[in-house]
Amino acid sequence: MQATEPLVILIEDEPQIRRFLRITLGDHGFRLVECTTAAEGLNRIEANQPDLVLLDLGLPDMDGLETTKRIREKSSVPIIVVSARDQEEQKIRALDNGADDFVTKPFGSGELLARMRAAVRRASSKNSEEKSSIFTAENVSIDFEKRIVMKGDQEVHLTPNEYDLLVVLVENSGRVLTHRQLLKQVWGDQYTNETHYLRVYMAQLRQKLEDDPARPRHLTTEAGVGYRFRP
């Protein structure tokens, strides 16, 4: 990983939002390149090889889905989409097509910074060779080599599908995964519309791993979008 501060390309047409992000992100150890159109952003991504892209969904020259697809054609850089509440559909399609996460306007800078740091960290650990063989989040731990899941000091017995689902969520810890992405990764390409499978297995995982399955601490739902493992 580079020793320097992570480079962020911000594609946002609202000058006031750029203004506060410039200050906030600068204060928290990010270098920032600002673009006001998708076309400019795409050029900059190619030229600057950033560590992260912040993409607004309301750009004047290209919609979010198209921009995400174009970025993915040339780069695997993490993309966080910034969406307004009435852009649900565009947001989900951008996530399905390779965007890593989203924040919804209005967002607090704490939430945005957390998402950005998590995305940068995931990208750099994906690139590094050494992968930890044990994952821990509070009282839940997973030993990937032995395929053992523990809650506190109790071993939890999971079915193969439950285990695979948990591993996909945990490998993307902190990041939202859409229904479609989870179904594709755990069950395969032909199952991407069978969301009821997914709901059943999520409910079972919560029963086994959460202290209060009705108010999950780790296996959280993003209504209308998908699921997120919160560490």
Binding site: Q16, I17, F20, R85, S109, G110, A203, P213, R215, G224
Partner: protein
């Protein structure tokens, strides 16, 4: 009304006068065309009844003024009789066609106008939404940016002021969101993305989203085991639950307990409830609280009276019902959701507009 028939008669009189002037040079069949033209004009301008009257009068006038023997209604030649019969049929059919074309033109103009209105309303709503929310997003972001700076850079007072800015901007954003949602629901421009899903999950995601505002409150869940999946738009039903919890937070004290739960009440219905141990709703106001801009206790409680009316609109658009029961102590908001949607199969999703919304 009668004027239309008067104009029909007048048209036939004019046709008769013109035909009389031209008659020496033309045969009966040529003169008939002038009358057919008159009938078509009557049909286009004054509609069906007058055009039939005009057709009948035309035949009578042709018979009286132009067929041998003249100036009586007898007809001597069978070819003249045929001409008149054909004239009547042609006049009536052409006038029928003319009226149909006219109606189609009016209908397509009306549809075009409605589509244009709808487009205008959508554009207006989204630009209104954008223009109001972008500054709010900037204010929220900037205020939290201040709060995120290293603690020693801000005094306690400054931190407190930044918090005030943040909380009030968030409140305004919630209000704008409610107002826009209400307008969208009423205008029928909200898209519903229905899918069969467990209500437990929606309750959970609502509680997660409200986490930061629930830290110093006691909130419990009471979800019956084995609830059936329900065909709902998760984002909208989550909004209903959030609005109801928000309402409970506003009208109760920190020591009061709030409970969210659900149970199945019949084969085709579940009930979701949000109850609290607060003061409850004044008797007689149980229905009015769901009205737009109505507030039970305006003094000292923030809000604009939109939260509950949005709940009502969303629940009704799902085919459910919402009401309040005064419990002892406290209030219990309940709403029903159907467990079946005839147009939607389990495991499918569908998008449609909320056309079933009513006040």
């Amino acid at each position: 009304m009668l004027a239309r028939y008067f104009f029909a008669i007048l048209t036939v009189v004019c046709c008769t006068a013109i035909s009389r002037l031209l008659q020496p040079a033309f045969t009966l069949s040529s003169v008939t065309l002038i009358f057919v033209f008159g009938v078509v004009i009557v049909a286009a301008i004054w509609g069906r009844g007058p055009s039939i009257l005009a057709a009948l009068l035309s035949v009578a006038s042709l018979d009286f003024f132009f067929c041998e023997p003249l100036y009586c209604f007898d007809i001597s030649s069978s070819s003249d009789l045929l001409t008149l019969a054909v004239m009547l049929v042609v006049a009536v059919s052409i006038s029928t066609l003319t009226i149909r074309v006219k109606h189609q033109a009016i209908e397509s103009a009306r549809l075009a106008e409605a589509a244009e209105m709808e487009r205008l309303r959508s554009t207006l709503l989204s630009s209104f939404s954008h223009d109001l929310r972008t500054p709010l997003a900037t204010i929220t972001g900037a205020a939290t940016g201040l709060l995120e700076t290293e603690p020693e850079k801000l005094s306690a007072d400054q931190t407190e002021l930044a918090k005030v800015i943040f909380e009030e901007a968030e409140r305004l954003e919630r209000f704008v969101a409610n107002l826009l949602n209400m307008t969208r629901l009423e205008a029928g421009v909200i898209e519903f993305h229905k899918e069969y899903q467990p209500i437990e999950e929606v309750v959970g995601s609502a509680l997660t989203r409200m986490e930061s505002r629930l830290v110093d409150r006691t909130i419990g869940t009471d979800l019956a085991p084995k609830l059936p999946n329900v065909p709902i738009d998760a984002v909208l039903i989550e909004q209903v639950i959030i609005n109801l919890i928000d309402n409970a937070l506003k009208y109760t004290n920190k020591s009061d307990v709030i409970k969210v739960g659900s149970q199945q009440v019949s084969d085709n219905q579940i009930v979701v409830f949000v109850s609290d141990s607060g003061a409850g709703v004044p008797a007689g106001e149980e229905n009015r609280i769901f009205d737009k801009f109505y507030r039970a206790k305006p003094e000292g409680i923030s809000g604009f009276g939109l939260g509950l009316s949005i709940c009502k609109a969303i629940v009704q658009a799902h085919g459910g019902r919402i009401w309040i029961e005064n419990a002892q102590p406290g209030a219990c908001f309940k709403f029903t959701l159907p467990t079946k949607d005839a147009q939607l199969k389990e495991g499918q999703s569908a998008s449609n507009r909320a056309t079933s919304y009513s006040h």
